[in-house]
């Protein structure tokens, strides 16, 4: 499938331990030789470039300051197929959107290391004067062009490249002056690829995390971030957080000391706030258990990742509420979407508008917290019990080694992700939304959740089925996938609906 040769990995058994320095340097040489633009990566020069960046263009600094001040930064997603389009987009997001963090999303050919196809996409985009790629092909353009993007904005920049193969995009992105990179070995391997094994996905991100640690050892702290949104459809918090904790432990083992955790919103105020708090606490709990006491783990909240409504008014509500949820939940940053989400990639104007809607909502929510509210505390306790049950089992299965335990747990279905495209994931687990709007688990598959916890989930789903007069079955779970994208007249009708249409 890939159009470039991947050097055959020396089949060392997968372990969580840090890649030794000599091995790592040899891996870097082989990696950078895979595409011509790799030759322009000069680590020492890149370190000097990062040292010369002003503090306000360093994402690691920005996240630490926001965390200390309990502020919520805004960051959209965004990428187009040519340098000129990408530059205009990033400037619009910085100036018109007031983005605190400016993104570069790579296109999907780049994410799959099909760089020749990405090159053709650039040519076609230039010929037609509109982007035919869904992101910026940073590997084709290389370090010098990407630095033009960094120079065009006055904010920190983050690489968003939904991929299980981050080795070239990260080398080129960091060398260009990007100070953040979203992605992780477990989360992205379960959500962005069909054939790659979990073990190989973990190996690819061990390289990236080792690279981030290598920069840190030269005085350059980078913001690594885990993408807990997984397959983006009705992911119950316990699944996202368990995988976030495991990815975090794997990164820490490579030497990373700054690791953000990004959770997609369920669009339930109490559940999202509980998840954000539980995520950071659980990451710290397991880091401490493994002996890491100095890892910074800010949480990012991500606007709804499931199906969006086409109606601009309904979509604007999700954008705005997404700012409210992030701010009240105490997230250190929020990743925003726009009213164009149902239609695909937004224009720069719509994207900037999404940022401003979110920013206003954050402003309005300042200072509001749910701590102490009984329903919030109960939900947080529930999530923590669920995550501990899963993560403890994974660690046990790996005899203490996170990488080994993760691979074995996926084989057994002890770790599972709903709707995964990856053949190595069982995808037996099936979530659904309950009567009160919580995301619950309809079918837990082989997730090792306590019986009484599962009963809480089942009860809410039975309650919904009874209220709607339908069976509590897989159909309810499938309907939950599309629920929030349905027209308002169906979700909240202003007049009685015919019985058939009400289904």
């Amino acid at each position: 499938m890939n159009d470039i040769a991947s050097p055959k990995a020396v089949a060392a058994p997968l372990r969580e331990t840090a890649i030794p320095d000599d091995d790592f340097q040899a891996m870097r040489v082989a990696n950078l030789a895979r595409w011509p633009t790799g030759a322009a990566v000069d680590f020492d020069e890149a370190v000097a470039f990062h040292h010369a960046l002003p503090p306000h263009k360093r994402l690691a600094d920005a996240m630490r300051r926001a965390h200390d001040g309990r502020r919520c930064l805004t960051q959209p997603r965004g990428g187009f197929g040519t340098l000129a389009m990408q530059k205009a987009l990033m400037i619009a997001l910085d100036r018109d959107g007031l983005a605190d963090i400016v993104p570069t999303t790579t296109d999907s050919y780049t994410r799959n290391e099909q760089f020749a196809a990405a090159g053709k996409g650039v040519e076609e985009s230039e010929r037609l004067g509109r982007s035919l790629l869904n992101g910026f092909p940073i590997v084709n353009y290389g370090v010098a062009a990407a630095r033009e993007l960094i120079g065009a904005i006055d904010k920190p920049a983050i690489m968003l490249t939904g991929t299980s193969m981050p080795k070239l995009t990260s080398e080129i992105g960091f060398a260009a002056g990007y100070t953040g990179y979203l992605g992780s070995g477990i989360a992205y391997t379960t959500s962005y690829i069909k054939e790659l094994s979990i073990a190989d996905g973990i190996r690819n991100y061990q390289y990236l995390d080792r690279l981030a640690a290598h920069y840190a050892s030269h005085g350059v702290e980078l913001h690594r971030r885990q993408p807990g949104f997984l397959t983006g459809t009705n992911i119950p918090p316990c699944i996202a957080i368990a995988i976030a904790v495991l990815d975090c432990l794997l990164a820490a083992a490579q030497g990373v000391r700054h690791y953000g955790l990004e959770l997609a919103q369920t669009l339930h105020l109490v559940q999202d706030a509980a998840a954000i708090a539980a995520c950071e606490a659980l990451a710290q709990e397991y880091l401490a258990r493994k002996g890491y006491r100095d890892v910074f783990t800010p949480v990012t909240s991500l606007h709804w990742m499931g199906a969006w409504p086409h109606d601009a008014a309904q979509a604007a509500t999700l954008v705005s509420y997404g700012g409210t949820l992030a701010a009240i939940g105490g997230a250190t940053s929020v990743t925003t979407k726009s009213t164009h989400e149902a239609h695909g990639i937004p224009t720069p104007e719509a994207n900037a508008e999404g940022l401003r809607i979110t920013r206003m909502a954050i402003y309005l929510a300042r200072g509001i917290r749910l701590d102490g509210l009984a329903e919030y505390e109960a939900e947080r306790t529930l999530i923590e019990r669920e995550v501990r049950a899963i993560v403890d089992k994974v660690l046990e299965m790996g005899d203490g080694d996170v990488a080994v335990g993760t691979v074995r747990a996926f084989e057994a279905g002890v770790l599972d992700v709903p709707w995964s495209p990856n053949r190595h994931v069982k995808s037996r687990v099936m979530p659904a939304r309950d009567a009160r709007g919580y995301l619950r688990i309809f079918d837990a598959g082989a997730l090792p959740l306590p019986r009484d916890v599962l009963e809480v989930h089942a009860e809410g789903l039975r309650e919904r089925a009874a209220r709607e007069g339908v069976a509590c079955d897989r159909e309810l779970a499938i309907r939950s996938v599309y629920e929030l994208s349905e027209p308002l007249a169906m979700l909240a009708p202003d007049r009685p609906m015919p019985a058939a249409a009400a289904r």
């Binding site: 499938m1 187009f80 197929g81 296109d107 999907s108 050919y109 994410r111 799959n112 099909q114 196809a117 053709k120 996409g121 076609e124 509109r130 982007s131 035919l132 790629l133 869904n134 939904g162 959500s191 962005y192 690829i193 069909k194 397959t231 459809t233 199906a307 086409h310 164009h340 149902a342 239609h343 695909g344 990639i345 937004p346 224009t347 719509a350 709707w419 995964s420 495209p421 897989r474 499938i478 996938v481 599309y482 994208s485």
Partner: protein, 152 residues
């Protein structure tokens, strides 16, 4: 996925999948489940499927139609030449559907539809099309055709 309900079996075989480097599997999987429940024989190729794999599967299974999904915006690049590949493989008259978020950004649907019909797709479905609508169209289009399996 779920066991197909006892539906009246149809004599038609369909190939489904998500084309190119696109990982969006959820809608395609729900569509494939619904097609099975409607009695079709469904060859489900899943996410990240190259154009050539659709056509190989259609040849091997004597399929009557190929249903291509694309959600990530690059469908316009991935789908170019799809009809020509079918013709080269001897699938001159196979029914071709495409649906999803087919281009980058919010563009007028009439333009997008025209682009894909010009590429040789028999029908293109706009973002947000629900399963029952696609099932109805498919039933009508196939009703006018002789099943491949019956021709061999």
């Amino acid at each position: 996925m779920s066991a197909p309900r006892a539906a009246t079996a149809t004599p038609f075989t369909l190939v489904t999948g998500v084309i190119g480097a696109d990982t969006h599997i959820v809608g395609n999987r729900i569509l494939s489940m619904a097609l099975e429940e409607a009695g079709y024989r469904v060859v489900s190729l899943g996410a990240l499927t190259p154009a050539g794999d659709f056509i190989r599967a259609a040849v091997e299974t004597a399929a009557d139609a190929i249903l291509v999904s694309s959600l990530y915006g690059q469908g316009e690049l991935d789908c170019r030449g799809f009809r020509e590949l079918c013709i080269e493989a001897g699938l001159d008259d196979i029914l071709l559907y495409v649906g999803g978020n087919l281009v980058v950004g919010k563009q007028p649907w009439d333009d997008v539809e025209r682009r894909f019909l010009d590429m040789g797709f028999d029908r293109a479905f706009a973002p947000g099309t629900r399963v029952p609508e696609a099932l109805a169209m498919l039933g009508a289009d196939l009703a006018a055709r002789t099943p491949k399996a019956a021709r061999q």
